[in-house]
């Protein structure tokens, strides 16, 4: 049994303009100790996927279908006490901007200790010990002094370390990191990514790394999900996604960023404009921007197709022959990567 099993998860926001299907049927498994990356452009549903797993959606948002199982236990529709136990003890989340989750009016030490006491049976003295231990773990120097300071007295990189300390204090099995380094400079980003890799090895937790930066996933992840318009385009090992992409959107992304491969050459952008979730096309959501779109792409949304042991894809290109012959038989993948 996988640590986390997400099946056909659907989350919508009900706005004045209509239903926004922010996450539209995504499935994946996550095993102990693995690092899973989720990449995709702005608005593709990366954060909403994370918030749905944690069930911390905005009031207008609701999970409208599918299932999220943690160690076999269903979280969708679970009672508040199950969810509270899950958040903090089993799954922790850190955000792009640590200031959104640190309270500016309390000292760092106070907030760390409160979080520890809320989720574990430690008393004040033990919580203090644990807080100091965690700050040392994330390489905060002079932790005694840092404990007495307020969040604004710390730099962005330092605040992100403190957030990580807080998220890890209760030894979660899964850490969800939503763009944890996007707001940081590259040398500070390198520090934080290295810290996360170290901690992951030391503590053996699984990580879901959400980012729009293909470099960050290449460096950090065992497996990668590429998202577009609320759905998965492709899911596979890092090497499979980068070296043998099987979806036109993934291929387009790799052609559009400057890399060693295209150094000195003209970039090949993905044409067209980003998706508007209120006006979703009928077939493949990427079809309006896809250079290889076929007739079927305009009418039918591709199902998950297993490419090999390492990869699934949702792109009609993979069954081109079948389509040309006019009879499309697509097997739903039985297991997940």
């Amino acid at each position: 049994m996988a640590l986390l099993e997400v099946k056909d998860l659907r989350t919508s926001f009900f706005t004045d303009a209509g239903e926004v299907k922010a996450v539209d049927g995504i499935s994946f498994n996550l095993d102990h100790g693995k690092v899973l990356g989720i990449v995709g452009e702005s608005g593709s549903g990366k954060s909403v996927t994370a918030y749905s797993i944690m069930q911390i959606l905005a009031p207008t948002g609701r999970i409208v279908g599918g299932s999220v199982k943690l160690e076999g236990q269903e979280l969708v529709g679970a009672d508040e006490s199950t969810l509270r136990h899950m958040r903090g003890n089993k799954i922790s989340i850190i955000f792009q901007d640590p200031m959104t989750s640190l309270n500016p009016t309390y000292t760092v030490g106070h907030q760390l200790m409160e979080a520890i006491m809320l989720h574990t049976k430690r008393n004040r003295r033990q919580a203090r010990e644990r807080a100091l231990e965690m700050l040392r773990l994330v390489n905060v120097n002079d932790p005694e002094k840092r404990m007495k300071q307020y969040p604004y007295e710390h730099s962005g990189g330092m605040r992100q370390r403190i957030m990580i300390a807080m998220a890890l204090a209760c030894e979660p099995d899964i850490l969800i990191a939503d763009e944890p380094t996007t707001a940081l400079d590259v040398t500070i980003q390198a520090q934080i990514l290295e810290l996360m890799q170290d901690l992951q090895k030391k503590l053996g937790m699984a990580i879901i790394m959400i980012t729009h930066d293909l470099g960050v996933v290449a460096q950090m992840c065992d497996e990668i999900i590429v998202m577009y318009a609320g759905g998965i385009c492709e899911r596979g090992t890092a090497d499979a996604i980068f070296y043998h992409p099987h979806h036109e959107y993934t291929k387009g992304l790799l052609r559009s960023i400057p890399r060693d491969e295209n150094n000195g050459q003209r970039l090949q952008p993905i044409t067209g404009t980003p998706i508007d979730l209120l006006n979703m096309p009928k077939g493949c959501p990427f079809a309006p921007r896809c250079d290889h779109a076929m007739k079927i792409c305009l009418t039918e949304r591709p199902e998950e197709m297993r490419m090999n042991d390492e990869q699934i894809s949702r792109c009609w290109m993979n069954v081109k022959d079948g389509i040309d012959a006019g009879n499309i038989t697509v097997e739903r993948s039985a297991s997940h990567v």
Binding site: E41, V186, T187, E194, A218, G252, S256, N263, I270
Partner: protein
């Protein structure tokens, strides 16, 4: 491609801001401190460094959006000093900003936004001429007449960036400071805008100072790259040269820290991870600004600021120990 003629020369540029420390005391913040470089006609010079190191300030001081505290800006052989030289310069040099969301007035139509510099500089005689010019400018950046009467807020980030660029082109500039022009855009849109900068350079012979923190984007677009740290320029060389053989310890760690979008390279990459944070420019260290984080720092590094010297053809570095450590 760049010619050999120097278009812009910046000599010992200084931009200090007085920061109020309370109790009627103030302290100078040396946002840019003694920076010198030149840009050739038709060239793209990339300017990189971490946030707050002074990149934007260099761009703004060159254009005299701030009056420089010290130093010289020489454009096309003429020093920008008098009011006239500045007025002349402003017609040839302009700036494109990072944030396509806030740099455009949401209540103006696209054609009014693009035409504003034409109005300011009175660059047309008849309404028809104005209209034609606006359409021509929009054409340069891939927008069409349908877009002209719409409002900026109706456009996506990439389209707004295009509007900003069309506007910058209105004065027929020769030189453009591009301040993080693609940083706010999604990768798929970034590539469209980067290509457009390339095309416009070819078509109109433009010269760019291209500021960005994405080092892969900068490498792609630049002929040469300059690296800044805490208000100083620490290295300047050809783009490929600095990529393959960075000589300054800061550039070395900065480049090694870039996450490469290729799993095998990323796994094999030996990152030089710096400890500590960037010091505040209000309390910059004595001597070499990088010494508090430099693994090669020695006593001499605290004592004097290393000079910015040419160590190989066209390769400039400011480090006391550059010869020993490389």
């Amino acid at each position: 491609m760049s010619e050999n003629k120097t278009l812009l020369e910046v000599r010992n540029l200084k931009q200090y801001f007085d920061i109020n420390m309370g109790f009627f005391r103030s302290k100078p913040l040396k946002a840019v401190d003694d920076v010198s470089f030149s840009i050739r006609k038709g060239e793209t010079l990339g300017l990189v460094g971490e946030s707050g190191c002074g990149k934007t300030t260099v761009g703004r001081s060159i254009l005299h959006l701030y009056k420089p505290t010290g130093g010289h800006v020489i454009y096309d052989g003429q020093e920008i000093s008098s009011k006239e030289s500045l007025r002349e310069f402003r017609r040839k040099a302009t700036m494109v900003f990072q944030d396509p969301y806030s740099s455009l007035n949401p209540r103006m139509t696209v054609s009014d936004i693009v035409a504003e510099p034409l109005d300011v500089h009175k660059l047309y005689k008849t309404r028809k001429e104005r209209e034609d010019r606006v359409l021509e400018l929009m054409g340069y950046v891939g927008l069409n007449s349908e877009h002209a009467s719409r409002y900026a807020h109706e456009f996506s980030g990439g389209q707004r960036q295009r509007i900003g660029i069309a506007r910058a082109l209105a004065v027929n500039p020769e030189f453009i400071v591009c301040d993080e022009p693609v940083s706010a855009l999604d990768v798929s849109i970034q590539a469209q805008v980067i290509n457009m900068f390339d095309d416009l350079q070819d078509k109109l012979g433009l010269t760019y100072l291209f500021i960005a923190h994405d080092l892969l984007v900068v490498r792609h677009i630049s002929d040469r790259i300059a690296v800044m740290y805490l208000g100083k320029m620490v290295e300047l060389a050809d783009a490929e040269e600095i990529y393959k053989h960075p000589l300054h310890p800061y550039s070395q760690s900065l480049l090694s820290a870039v996450p490469m979008p290729d799993p095998k390279t990323a796994r094999a990459n030996k990152r030089i991870v710096l400890t500590g944070d960037i010091p505040s420019p209000l309390n910059a260290p004595s001597g070499c600004p990088f010494r508090t984080r430099c693994r090669y720092a020695r006593r001499e590094c605290a004592e004097s600021m290393p000079s910015f010297e040419q160590v190989a053809a066209g390769h400039y570095v400011a480090c006391h120990r550059v010869k020993e450590i490389n």
